[in-house]
Symmetry: C2
Subunit: 149 residues, 2 copies
């Protein structure tokens, strides 16, 4: 298990492969973001996007799945606290394959809880053409190593 | 249909009622954020949260549904561009009822596209006890009124 002390500021990772399907785009959108350019191919073709595109929050959710499967699994994570400078740089369309780049940009101890630390990660979600579709800074909470570990 | 010109900076809205269920929390988490404190009640009881909590991205997605159902339906929206200062202030647990407060904090024209404007909305998602569980500023793209409309 990796704790706060094991996280190195400046370290980078690149991982994952998330295949985006039309069915998943419309399913997410029907539940959480039922705007026509996310749920209906014909309506989308007449929108500013010109084609069906994933909800921006869906792309964020997909990035979370990439993080859990490839990076957070062996961390003593305590959940997320905040996200900043989130930019939906490009639409995500059916048939794309997404992967994730991560850089640890900062970490700091909690002032109120000696067992807790915070890690700031800069995230870029990129498509199969290496174009950034989404970027953000996420601050996660993580356990500090107990003195006997 | 409401266009960029119809949006008034400083205006506020408060709306919606989203009932959060255990089934929906675990379903979202199994697909997008399979960390034990989001997917498994027993594991969650031994986590820092002490109980099952919704994925932070799930709460963001629920807030989007509240916006689409109650606010964006009659806007000439062109999708979201960015989100800033997103704060998961409190965990969201099964049985809670969420609603949304919105304030239009700024708007500005696009320099590259005369048909497009940007609107910055400050969003607070509150639970049944009027506690803020999530807040963020989201910048949405919206059509400008054509001169003959």
């Amino acid at each position: 298990m990796r704790y706060f002390e094991d996280i190195e500021v400046g370290s980078t990772e690149e991982f994952g492969e998330y295949h985006v399907t039309k069915a998943e785009i419309t399913e997410f959108a029907e539940q959480y973001d039922p705007q026509p350019f996310h749920t209906d191919e014909d309506a989308a073709s007449e929108s500013a996007f010109g084609e069906l595109v994933a909800s921006g929050w869906h792309t964020a959710a997909m990035s979370m799945r990439l993080l859990v499967d490839n990076y957070l699994g062996d961390q003593a994570g305590m959940g997320g606290r905040s996200a900043d400078e989130l930019r939906w740089e490009r639409p995500v369309t059916p048939g794309e394959t997404l992967s994730l780049r991560l850089e640890v940009v900062d970490k700091h101890c909690s002032e109120s809880d000696p067992q807790r630390g915070y890690v700031d990660n800069y995230i870029e979600v990129v498509n199969q053409d290496d174009e950034v579709v989404l970027s953000y800074i996420v601050t996660g909470m993580i356990e500090r190593r107990k003195s006997d570990e």
